[in-house]
Every structure is written in structure tokens, then in C-alpha cells.
Symmetry: D2
Subunit: 261 residues, 4 copies
Amino acid sequence: MVGNVVALGDKVVLISKHDKRKYFIEVEDRSQKILELGVYNPNKLVGQKFGSLIRLGTRDFWVLKANFIDTIDTLKRKAQIILPKDSALIGLYGNIHSGSIVIEGGLGSGALTIFLLKLVGETGKVTTYEVREDFAKYGKKNVVMSMPKQPLNWDLKVQDITHGIQETEVDAVVLDIPEPWNAVAAGYSALRAGGILVSYIPTMNQVENMVKTLKEFPFIEINSFENLQRDLVSKTGATRPAYEMLGHTGYIVFGRKVIEK
Amino acid sequence: MVGNVVALGDKVVLISKHDKRKYFIEVEDRSQKILELGVYNPNKLVGQKFGSLIRLGTRDFWVLKANFIDTIDTLKRKAQIILPKDSALIGLYGNIHSGSIVIEGGLGSGALTIFLLKLVGETGKVTTYEVREDFAKYGKKNVVMSMPKQPLNWDLKVQDITHGIQETEVDAVVLDIPEPWNAVAAGYSALRAGGILVSYIPTMNQVENMVKTLKEFPFIEINSFENLQRDLVSKTGATRPAYEMLGHTGYIVFGRKVIEK
Amino acid sequence: MVGNVVALGDKVVLISKHDKRKYFIEVEDRSQKILELGVYNPNKLVGQKFGSLIRLGTRDFWVLKANFIDTIDTLKRKAQIILPKDSALIGLYGNIHSGSIVIEGGLGSGALTIFLLKLVGETGKVTTYEVREDFAKYGKKNVVMSMPKQPLNWDLKVQDITHGIQETEVDAVVLDIPEPWNAVAAGYSALRAGGILVSYIPTMNQVENMVKTLKEFPFIEINSFENLQRDLVSKTGATRPAYEMLGHTGYIVFGRKVIEK
Amino acid sequence: MVGNVVALGDKVVLISKHDKRKYFIEVEDRSQKILELGVYNPNKLVGQKFGSLIRLGTRDFWVLKANFIDTIDTLKRKAQIILPKDSALIGLYGNIHSGSIVIEGGLGSGALTIFLLKLVGETGKVTTYEVREDFAKYGKKNVVMSMPKQPLNWDLKVQDITHGIQETEVDAVVLDIPEPWNAVAAGYSALRAGGILVSYIPTMNQVENMVKTLKEFPFIEINSFENLQRDLVSKTGATRPAYEMLGHTGYIVFGRKVIEK
């Protein structure tokens, strides 16, 4: 159950009524610079009802508890992130849900990590391997800031996942690294029987390589797919698909561990 | 953490090595008729290592703990079910994850319910409204059978959700009913501020109606989309998209509750 | 057979080597203002080999005989035009080819007309009905300019096609007008038995209306579809679909005339 | 202008009112076996009005002059054929229309050849290279049977197109052969400046190879794309995309000849 009003420590999103832009804010008693909103002390938000409109300067904003999509929409990103739709499908085909034990290879900006942490919850666990110290630092900041509270179910290791995974009997291994085939052996070892290795891959040549490598191990149900999302512009009497559409994000490739093949 | 070997009470899937067909089995000490496998007492599976191959009659099968996709692949269904990819996107855009409190309108064969229960876990709760007694009975059997253990986080009400929802301050309302616009008022009342109403809808005309109704209430971020999934056939030197593709499942329509607009 | 070098009267396209921009030019002995190229007398092009690079100012351009795609890429347009891919499919499903007799409802910017004229050739005929005088004038300019020579196989009538078509026994009636169902009766009368009425339609509500109306007449093989095109970005070792993609253009709806149903 | 009634020598299609199946018939005075229709002398059709219903046995059929789609729907095929939508786009991006001079590599079952012949008409010309004698024989039969009259604008050569093309200054070279990159040199030589080489290609790896080879020659505007078509099921109040959809046919890859690069 959530509180009905903003409290210190909350992570909220302000959504402009005018242009729908979103601003992510940690409610602390400290003046902050919030992009074009200028300097603002969010302690003024304390006691505001969630879902109400507030006025800042000359504009109206809805104040809402930040949810997963809000954190992704406002995430500071270095490179391309895994989009929410792909995170959801990685979760699905990785059989990741409340209570799952997951290894993640590649932290990036942390978008997928945040999703996985929400998915597994307090009874689950995510361990992320990131080989680059600078990425680890940058992504960690994003993850910690985006979660409602300090994530106790998360471990971040500055290690190369292709060199090995210490954890065993895990439910899923999720890879978003440049050459995921190099982590298949480590992933296979870490997984429990029936556990799933799932990889997010930008090009078809990499898919080819990954599928080939998965086939060399006792994985079954090896599949790869792409997923396209298209908005519908719904107006009474004039409904049509949207003109804007993202033609490609990445392929999702996965296999399920067995112990003999 | 899972056990490494099959135990009484487990829900397992047998996957035929030959043709990849799946058979869902509750491991009880009682002979059962398992489709074309004939009469079989699954207590013979007890002690088998998960992930190993066993021989039944003249065929080899992998024995695995049944996961979500397995339960959907083997679910007895009356009508068309919501496919896993759409369940995952409903979960995503409904902001449903470990710990979420969710209302579901329409049980159907239970496919979406099973997904939601796995998603919210023991710290969350799903309450399903199903107006037809026969559907409730049929779907309940599917849900109970598919979950690893008796779902304590689930309530099933044989009630018409368009007549009202008793629960309040819920995180999400998910609708898979023929005229979801009739449940928007009830859904709005049940949601907390910031909570999301999300609906699965087969035709464009229904999307039009639903979006129109959502706009009459204080919902923001009203969106509708469709989602297409296409397999990649990955062979070294000859990779191409699959010929088989499902051209349509349903649209996903959603809006986020605010308290003033 | 074409000439190998530019001659007076040719319609050529200059394609910038630098940024691939295209410039459509009628080769006359008269200085013209060619967008950012400045004032230029294209008679300087006379004698240049087609396919060669020429230098204008500080930039290199390929000089080529303008083809259909070139004319569309450089067409002055008032509103959204029918894209080449849709024109091609209209031609296909309208069974329009060399020698066909075609009625077109709606001239617009002339993009589809130019395509139809190239398709039917000198042994065929296109008659275009355009209700608005200003559109007729504007579109005609585009058509005449884009064709290699004065199109003798084209008639333009400033008339409302929904009021009737004078021609009879035509092979195809092509409609790109706001309420095409109002022209179905006229189209049916004008067509020969087996002739096809084909319509380009932006929204699904209009498709519904159009299909309903076609069904009220002796048309068979009534179909409607949409068509999506996606580029492939082909790099050795890193091939993937393009990120940019147009999510919607229009639906194509058609039916084939019989004389009893 | 077409005749209104069936005459000897016509090529007609019978479309079953009951199940919409199509039967292609050459109207000769000779009893033929027409699949499940049994033995039938089509001279009985002579004098029937096109577009009318006739009764054969216990079923009603529309009698219509066979058009391009009819010939493809009823074509005897050995392997997968190029579908009409792809033929139309090959025609479009190859800049092939009434009067064009075209070289085709690979006859196959003749589906694309028939389309090209209709497109270029009597003022154009298609020359087809087919390396295998048996394919040449088989495809030729299809082409001759499908055209309304003996195609005088067609040459068929039983030669390997990768060994060279005798024709020069052609408008387009169209390739549907297993390793089209081996015909790029021959195609380049045969094309006029500004002419287009266009290829139909099943896998991404072949696209990669083809694009790489095209880049080694003076071709510009090198592009590759795929094209998806999806039916709309239009019912008043319940319109939606079709469930059935073909997920992949082939990629279309093309480039435009210049004489220096």
C-alpha cells in the first residue's frame, strides 16, 4: 500500500500538463537544479496528494510516485538502453519473476537491471557483472537512484562475466554484452537444470554466432526473435496505426539448460 | 532454490526429444492417462534428476520443472488465451511486479492470471472478477494446477466487474472482458493515484471506444499499441526471418489515474 | 533505347555525391534558380554523358535521366502523397499494366498519376477526375513536368467522380478521394466485367465503410491490406534492420466486378 | 478493349462461388481434365458473358478473363515462386514499366517473368537467362500458357547469366538466382547508365554479400529492404488485422549504374 501524499525520501515524477515532459525528483530538503525548471527545493512537494496538479512557475504538473517507465523515460543514459518492451520479454522468456535468482552480464546504464530488480522483488536476487569500472559506477548511480529504496537484493561485481560466474544453481542468466557467445560456458555452469540463458543482440550476425554456440552446449528450446511495437492513433471515426515506429531494437535469443542432450 | 531431483508434489513437464511436444504432469502416486503416452504412474519420476533424459515406452523425454511458458503451452483452453508476449507487456505497462496489488477482470482460461500471480509473488495480491460461474470453475482449475503450490495471493470472485470493485488503492486493474469501457468507472475508483488501468482488446473499434471512455475520466498517458513478434531462423550462412508469423493477437490500451485533470 | 548524353529537352536528375540530395532539372536553354544550387543554365549539361560526375560550384553531382523514383523524390507536394510502394501495389492489385485503360479519382499532387501513366504506356490510357480546380492545376503541372514527354495517354477532367464516370468498359478504377464509397456506384458502372476497383485509404474506419459498400455491389474478391517496408542496414558482419521505419501509410482496398452475384 | 463474351482462344478463370477456388482454363474445343471438376470441354464456355455465373455439375462459377493474379494463383510451381507483391516492388525499384528493356536472370516457374512481360508490354522486351534446361522448359510452358497471346516481346536463353549477358544498354537487370553477386559484373556491363540492377534474395547473409559486391562497382543508391503485407479483416464494428500473415518472403536489393564513382 502506498502513502497518499508525498513524503521526504519519495522518488516522484512531475509530468508537465502542457507538453507531457517528465521530471524525476528525489524528495529531499535540498535545493536542486531540475533542468529547465530551475532551482527548486522539492521539500515543497511534501504533503501534496499523489495524482494532483501542482503549479511550478507558470506551468502545471501532475505529481506521481515514479514507476518503472518513468525511471526509464528520465534515465541518464550513456549509450542506447534496452527498451522496456524488450526488458519485459527478456523477463518473460527468461522465466524471471518474483523470487527468481538472476545473473546479469553487462550493466550499461542500468535500465534492464532496474527492471529485473522490480521483477524479482525482495525474495529474489540479481547479481550483475560489469567488466568496466566506469560503467559500473555510472550504472550503479542510476540503479540506486531509480529504486524506491536501497536495493538489498542486488550485487554488483566489477568482473568480466566471460571469465566465469561464481554463483550456481541460478534461475536465469541475462546477457547484454558485445560478444555474448563468450559467456555461454560460464552461463551454462551457473544455471540450474531448466534455467534459461537469455541474450539481447543487435545484429543478425551476432544472433547466428550466439545460436551456434548455444547449440554446442546442452541447451534445448533455443529460439531467437524480434519484436515490433506500433502505436494506434485512436480518434473516434479516424483510427489508424501511428506513422512513427521504431523499426528495430534488438533480437532476443535464449535457450534452456538440460544436463544431457 | 529448487531441488535437483523430482519429488512428489512437483509439477513437471516432459519434453519429447523427438518432436519437442510437451506434457504437463503433477507428480502424484496415482496412475494417470497422459494423452498419447498412455496410462502412467508419475511416481516413477521421483528421484530423477531435473534436466536429464528419461525413456517412456520408445521415446526419450527431458524432465523439467514446469515453468510459466510450459504451463501456457500445455494449458487446457476454452477460447483464445492471452499469449505470453502480451501478458508480459500488460505486466510492463500496468507497472505490475513483485509486490503489486492487482485486480483482474475476466478469468478466461487463466493464462493471464497465472502470469500475474508469478509476477506479484507472495508479497503481492491478485483478485480476479469473473462474471460466469462456469468460466470461474474452469479457469480456477487451470490456475491451481499450474502454480507450483496453492496460490495464497489469489482471490477469485464470481462477480461482474462492471458493477463495481470492492478493493481500493490497488496498483493496477487489468481487463480482458468483451466491453472493457463498462468497467472503467469501477476501475478508476479501485485504483490508487498513479495506478494503471490496462486492457487487452481484439478489434480497432473496441480500442476506439475504450480510449474515448478513458479520456472521459482523469486518466493521463492514455496509449494503445499492437505488438508483433517474429522468429529468426538462424543457420550459419543462411539466417532469415521465419515464414510463420502470427499477424494479430490484440491491442493493449492503458491509462494512468490522476485525481484531477 | 536512350541517348547516352544529355540533350535539350531531357529531364534529368542531379544527385549530389556528398549528401545524396537530388535536383530535378528540365534541360532548357534558360537560366533557372535551382534551390541552393543558385542560378544555373542547364544548357551547360548538354553533351554530358549520363552516369558521369559533373562539378557545380564546389560539389560533384551524378547526372542521370530522371526516373519515376526521382520524380517522386523531387515532387513539389501540397499534401501527403501516395508513396511509390503503395502506387506499385495499387497497380498490381488493380491489374494495371502496359495497355490498361484506367480511371483515377483524385489527382492530388500527381504522384500516383505519374506512376499509372508510366505503367499503362502509350497503348493504354489514364483519365483522371479531380473535383477541385486548384488541385487540378497544381497536379497537372507536376505530371507534365515529370513525364519524359507530353503525356498523350492522359485526360484530366475537373469533375466530381462521385457524380458519375463517362467512360465505360475500363480495366480499373483507382480512388484516392476522402469518401471513396461515394464513388463505388460510378466505378462499378465504368468497369468492364472482371475490372477492378482499388482504393487507397488512410484509416480503418474508412476501410470498414468502403468494404461494406463494395459488398453491396456485385464485386467479388474484396480485400483490404496494409503494407510495411523496412530497410536492411547491410554491413559485413553487422547486418540488421534499420531503426527508421514508417509505421503506416494507408490501406489498399479492392474488389473485382462481376455482373451477377 | 476486351470482348464481352468468351471466345475460342481466350484464357479464362473459373472462380467457385462456393469456396472461391480458381481454375485456369484455355478455351479450346477439346475435352480436358480440370482437377476435381472432371472432364470438361471448355468450348461450352464460348458465348458466355464475362462476369456471369455458370453452373458446372452442382456448383456455380464466375467466368472471368484470367488476369495476372489469377495466373499466379493457379500456376504450377516447382519451387517457391516470387509473390506478386514482391514482383510489383521489383518492377517499381527496377524502374520497369511500359516499354522497358529488361534482362532477367533465373526463370524458375515463370511467375516473375509473366509479371515483367505484362509490365513492359509490346513496346518493351524481356530476355530471360536460365542455366538449367529442365527449368527453362518447365517455366516456358507456364509463361506461354499464362499470357493472353504468344509473347513476342520475350526471349529465353538457356545460358548461365554469370558468364555474361549479350545485350547492352538495357534498362534493368533482374536477378533471382542463388548467388546473384556472381552476376553483378555481367549485369553492370549490360545496363545503360542509370539502369538498375535489382535482386530478390532470401537470407540476410546473401544480402550482405550482394550489397558488398554492388559497392565494388560503380553503383549508387544501393538499398535493401523487406516488405510485409497484412490483411485487414473488415467487419462493421469489429475490424482487426488478420491472424494469418506471411512473416518473410525475400529481401529486395538494388543499385543504380553510374559510369564513374
